[in-house]
Point group: C2
Chain length 209, copies 2
DNA sequence: GGAGCCTAAGTTGCATACAATCGCGAGACC
DNA sequence: GGTCTCGCGATTGTATGCAACTTAGGCTCC
């Protein structure tokens, strides 16, 4: 793997898993030493993470892990509901049979993984793949990239981990409903089901703090 | 101005005004010489433009001005209608009196500038400011940045320049309607008027080719 | 004659050295 | 005692040199 990719992946992972908590400074020389690369690829990785909104950059003063306010997270979920709803609507029109089949398999796998309380991490991974597949099925070349920039925010990813078994069951049921709508080629239903799914998660976030 | 900013601004301008046409290669050494800076800031500017979707980067093979297909432009306008419509809806709820006043002034200025056929460029500038103000008035910290990434595509910017006097009049009238809706705090009206404005522009683009 | 390889030129990727800028603290002055 | 200023340490910003990769051309071999 090339140096930039290595630095980018490691930094991103560190931000998401809390190694670099919100507000922490990302000093170039320190990171370069830690990653065994020079400052150049570190700088490039930092700029890339900045463009994705994961970190803030102050000219001549360094880069810091971005902090999110409650209000910003609410805005984020609103926009996400808008875009993911649109993606689901398009998926209801354009998803291929193969894509529908994989969605069903992912739903089954999630049910299975959810039965084991220790597999939460695995459920989260399958959840990501399910959503990514819906975006991809929209046959729109812009949406996946735009949504990806939204859902990688740490808090969004961690939302899933705090779910109760009951709440998790509801979330998986919502996936089933989205899939049903896409299978039925029912555009408004798909859009609405996805919006419900996202806004429901936002409510959970608000309630849990 | 620092070197990166200089390189970024110059490159971006060159891409938008056609100095670097779609598909053209952006060689680092050549640009560095032309801009009187080293390759380092040029590289950073290129990466930034890449993250904004204006150029494509192939690892080890260079950067090229992005080309847009008809289908991608259609998708772009669809997403834009979605996001700008949402922004208008929020603006109807949150715009301040001062912001509404400036919107009205911008509409007046556009009418004035549109009377002179030579001032098309000025109309385009005022149009940008009007839309940016609506985004800002949404009181949402994510939307302006996301929409900005969409509307800076060369073809989108140039759409305006090809308008007939009659078509231009319609566009300005649509601005007035959006403003009326925002003034009336009528959320669905504002969203709908903005969507109409964007999708109408998309139709114009389709028809003119 | 055609396919494959090999070499060389040109480009990007990365490392390192130097320059510019910022922030903080010590000191002087009011 | 408080405030302003100067200077130093630390960090980012930029330039340049070398390494690695890609590609195109010509050559050899089949």
């Amino acid at each position: 793997m090339n140096a930039v990719e290595h630095a980018y992946a490691t930094l991103r992972k560190g931000i998401l898993d809390g190694t670099y908590p919100p507000g922490a400074q990302l000093a170039e020389v320190e990171l370069a030493g830690h990653l065994s690369v020079s400052r150049t690829p570190v700088r490039e990785a930092i700029r890339r993470l900045h463009s994705e909104g994961l970190i803030e950059v102050f000219p001549n003063r360094g880069a810091y892990v971005r902090t999110w306010t409650r209000a910003q997270l609410d805005e984020l979920f609103s926009v996400r509901a808008l875009l993911e709803g649109h993606a689901a609507a398009l998926a209801a029109q354009h998803a291929t049979d193969a894509q529908r089949t994989v969605m069903a398999v992912l739903c089954d796998d999630m049910d299975e993984a959810a039965a084991e309380p220790t597999d939460i991490q695995r459920v989260a991974g399958l959840n990501d793949r399910f959503h990514a597949l819906v975006h991809e099925s929209s046959a729109n070349s812009l949406l996946p990239g735009m949504i990806r920039g939204l859902i990688q925010v740490p808090v969004v990813l961690r939302t899933f981990l705090g779910y109760s078994p009951e709440r998790l069951r509801i979330s998986l049921q919502q996936h089933r409903e989205i899939l049903s709508a896409i299978r039925a080629h029912d555009v408004p239903w798909a859009e609405s089901a996805m919006r419900t799914h996202i806004l429901s998660a936002r409510h959970e976030l608000d309630a849990s703090s």
